[in-house]
Amino acid sequence: MAELLTAQGLGKRYGGEPVLADFSLALPAHARVALLGPSGSGKSTALRLLAGLDTADAGELSRAAGCRVGFVFQQFHLFGHLTALQNCTLALRKVQGLAESEARERAGAALEEVGLAAHADKRPAALSGGQAQRVAIARALCLQPGVMLFDEPTSALDPETAQEVLQVIRALARRGMAMVLVTHAVGFVRDTVDEVLFLEAGRIHWRGPTADFFAADAPPRIRRFVEAHQA
């Protein structure tokens, strides 16, 4: 099966300093990949390059024809002046040119999927962090993306609220959505993700199946990381 997303040797510098080098990834349909690593290792940069939020200085990036990419931010970035439903319908109407009624219907279904149909008419300020992040996921979903990118989707949330968001992402994975996640929720990585890319100092330090990442005979650097995150 053809890859939805292919990155080949991506590199990025900020002010002359390399923050990411030689990043490669091939994402087939239904694949679930986690980018792990310490802060400043370049994982968010890699994700932003995949989303087209930043442009790479080196390498190549290609997307399967007609494959849209959805992006979920750590800080949600909901539009504060719009209700949850309007957050979802905006792009449907303005980018995809749907009629208001059709856009509302599709947005409603997306909010339903994340369990927030009852909060459709609330503004972001009236939502909890977990609810806001689920609206952000619905906003990305209603554009019917082929791949979802999550940039630390639960890092701004308390552990309980984080679980409610991770449940939604898990359900997405179960129905076959391809996704790339930057996250520190290793428990979630262990039970949902197929492949782990471990970044350090802007390079892919280790990559392999999730089971190997958590295996007792993983390299010492990986063991240290896993143990620190499970403490």
């Binding site: 087209g52 931010f73 970035h77 995809q96």
Partner: protein, 313 residues
């Protein structure tokens, strides 16, 4: 420090104000100034009595309503007038006779000036917004030449006195394009304001978090759509307080238009002083009228702030 009532916080400014007022009164008394507030009256609003005379000689046929049969057989009458006392049916009247009077309200020069100031200010505020927005967007362009053009225009306008701009605009541009005084004045005032509006708009747009642009971008909105549907609606509440302040400045700056012979509130004041020799009364009245305008605008802006101030955080 206790958080209770601090007498000096309230009393201090009051005492200071009272002291200053006392000094002013003492100074004026020392000048032996003769206050004549009544001189202001006719320049605000006054009842005017218009005397009416028949066009030809004739005979009074009815008093209420007044009807006079003229010598040529036609009838002369007036509806909203009152026959003078003592006029009797059958009495002969001549063209120079004052047969009736009509009472009406006359808007004085001061209120006419106020009206012009309001008109000029409101129009200038409205006209200043589109070029202000355009300058802000020009100033924020990625392409350096456009951005520099925006910066240059803003700096030129902000760096030269409004008075000079009004002269230049009226005598140079106004003459070239054949603009009326009023139009030239409004346009000069609004271009001046537009430069400040541009910086207020830019600051407000830049205060909207970057994440909002990025969220719009990943949803597929282009820059224009992001600006229109995501950024500007959230920037508007942030620019309202500063815009309100700028428009209050505009109302006060409109007094400079008197230099191109527009009889605004300030020029009306000067003309009334020339006629009444009551400068203190007139200037205090002029100041009070400006204050009414600026306080009203301030209240309106605060009302809008409360209404639109929903999109924070």
């Amino acid at each position: 420090m206790s958080a209770g009532w601090r007498p000096w916080a309230t009393l201090g400014p009051l005492l200071l104000a009272a002291g200053l007022l006392g000094l002013l009164v003492a100074a004026v008394m020392g000048m032996d100034y003769h206050w004549r507030w009544s001189a202001l009256g006719p320049h605000l609003i006054s009842e005017q009595v218009e005397s009416l005379r028949p066009p030809q000689a004739g005979t009074v046929r009815s008093v209420a309503p007044l009807q006079i049969e003229l010598r040529d057989g036609s009838h002369w009458q007036c509806a909203d007038c009152q026959a003078v006392e003592g006029l009797q049916i059958g009495a002969p009247v001549w063209p120079e006779d004052r047969v009736a009077e009509r009472r009406g309200w006359h808007i004085g020069l001061l209120l006419q000036g106020l009206g012009l100031t309001v008109q000029v200010s409101l129009l200038a505020i409205l006209v200043s917004i589109p070029p202000g927005l355009a300058l802000a967007l020009l100033r924020m362009q990625r392409a350096a030449p456009l951005r520099r053009l925006g910066i240059a225009l803003i700096e030129i306008i902000r760096g030269t006195p409004l008075l000079v701009q009004i002269f230049l605009f009226y005598f140079l541009v106004g003459t070239l394009l054949g603009l009326e005084r009023m139009t030239a004045g409004i346009v000069a005032l609004s271009l001046f304001t537009a430069a400040y509006v541009a910086e207020i708009v830019r600051a407000a747009i830049e205060s909207v978090p970057r994440g909002q642009w990025e969220a719009a971008q990943v949803l597929g909105l282009n820059r224009r759509q992001a600006l229109q549907h995501v950024i500007l609606p959230q920037a508007l509440p942030r620019m309202l307080p500063a815009l309100g302040g700028q428009f209050i400045l505009l109302i006060k700056d409109s007094s400079l238009l008197s230099v191109i012979a527009l009889t605004d509130l300030t020029k009306a004041g000067r003309e009334i002083i020339a006629a009444t020799f009551a400068p203190f009364e007139v200037w205090l009245a002029v100041a009070a009228l400006y204050l009414c305008l600026t306080l009203s605008l301030g209240a309106l802006v605060r009302h809008w702030e409360r209404r639109f101030g929903v999109a924070r955080g």
